[in-house]
């Protein structure tokens, strides 16, 4: 009995500590990094099909690539086009810099929790597989920066990144850019990352969305 009480106490203390730490992380999220060194930051780039990938690659071409590296590109296993397009961008960078692509970029496929048209029953199983796979990827990479612009695959990755922040495994900066196709309402991914305060910085491409979501920043069109 005594040992049960003891275990229960430990459990309650652990949960309380976790919750306090989670609140601290939420409060700290959204505050700019204060860095003293100029070491490059490893970056996870989550790609989605079609329009999402085009927007993300446009953004990447405007970013400091030598400060954001290595870059890990992640796309759904069923979406080979996105990784091909990312490879084209990395190859063109490599031609300019002379550094082999293998040192600055990696291309990773991830299981998707649900394909378009898949039934909800079978998607429970595939969702579990997708989460486990996302965990393995995140434990291996532990990125400092996460860039995503809407595909559903970014949700498990961002939640795991948030857990890593709470558990002190890795402090990452999560940037979410809502797709240009969203003019009046956020996508489900965007809504979750905004409301759960998981995204450190939340960007939208239309002023009317910014007016609805006060913490979002309007950045104009990426396409």
């Amino acid at each position: 009995m005594a040992s049960f009480t003891f275990l229960l106490a430990i459990f309650i203390i652990a949960i309380t500590a976790f919750i306090i730490r989670a609140f601290y992380v939420i409060l700290q999220s959204g505050k700019p990094l204060e860095r003293t060194d100029a070491k490059p930051l490893s970056t996870l780039v989550v790609l989605g099909s079609g329009g999402h990938t085009a927007e993300m690659l446009n953004l990447l071409s405007a970013l400091h690539k030598n400060r954001l590296m290595p870059r890990f590109y992640v796309a759904a296993a069923t979406d080979s086009m996105s990784l091909i397009k990312a490879r084209v961008l990395e190859n063109s960078l490599n031609e300019k810099s002379g550094i082999p692509v293998g040192e600055t970029a990696k291309f990773i496929q991830i299981y998707r929790s649900r394909e378009v048209g898949q039934s909800y029953m079978t998607s429970i199983g595939t969702t579990l597989i997708a989460i486990a796979h996302a965990f393995l990827i995140m434990i291996r990479l532990r990125p400092h920066v996460i860039l995503c612009d809407g595909p559903g695959t970014c949700i498990p990755l961002c939640i795991i990144a948030f857990l890593f922040k709470v558990l002190g495994i890795r402090w990452s900066s999560i940037f979410y850019i809502e797709s240009i196709a969203r003019v009046k309402r956020l996508s489900l991914s965007g809504f979750l990352l905004y409301e759960l305060k998981i995204a450190d910085q939340f960007f939208v491409q239309w002023p009317q969305l910014q007016r609805k979501y006060a913490r979002a920043q309007y950045v104009g069109c990426l396409m």
Binding site: L33, L41, A62, H64, V183, W206, V219
Partner: protein, 178 residues
């Protein structure tokens, strides 16, 4: 190959694209005699339809006797060439085809598919129509839109600029501005 007369005449192509979707209502609207006559009257000579997964087959025509030459196909790996050679593009509301067309500076009519649930892509087409970068129609109103259209009133879509977003990310991460 083609008729000699057609080849020497200046080609004005209307290109219709539904992407990877099924959009029979659009293809059927395009295939109507009145609409094709209206396109002819406006000086268009050719009509090419990318019909995707749809099951409605439009009527092909060689375009003899001065009527519109009509052809169609289901899919192709890239529609860039078709877009480039078009004088007018009629597209479904997918953001990919919308921006690919606007980037090429081609006049564009976006037709929204009302059969789709949660049609958020409608938002984008409506917003761009309000900003006069394209014309917005429904399958039932397409004929009227083409009859009334004044392509001179369309404004070019400004080039995208990712630097404001990139600057905010750099600032947040503490990168010096250079």
């Amino acid at each position: 190959m083609e008729d000699q007369i057609v080849e020497t005449k200046e080609q004005k192509l209307v290109f219709v694209t539904v992407g990877t979707t099924r959009f029979d209502a659009l293809v059927r609207a395009i295939d109507s005699q009145e609409l094709k006559k209206e396109l002819s009257r406006k000086g268009y000579t050719h009509l090419l339809i990318q019909m995707g997964r749809g099951s409605y087959m439009p009527t092909k025509s060689k375009g003899e006797d001065g009527s519109l030459a009509v052809d169609y196909f289901t899919f192709s790996s890239s529609i860039a060439e078709n877009l480039r050679s078009a004088s007018l593009v009629i597209s479904h509301a997918g953001s990919g085809s919308i921006f690919e067309t606007l980037r090429l500076g081609k006049p564009l009519i976006v037709v929204v598919n009302e059969d789709l649930m949660d049609n958020h892509q409608c938002e984008l087409a409506e917003e761009l129509a309000e900003r006069k970068h394209l014309l917005f129609a429904r399958p039932q109103t397409l004929h009227q839109t083409i009859t009334d259209m004044n392509l001179e009133s369309l404004l070019p879509y400004p080039p995208a600029d990712a630097t404001p977003c990139a600057k905010l990310i750099h600032k947040f991460l503490g990168f010096p501005d250079d």
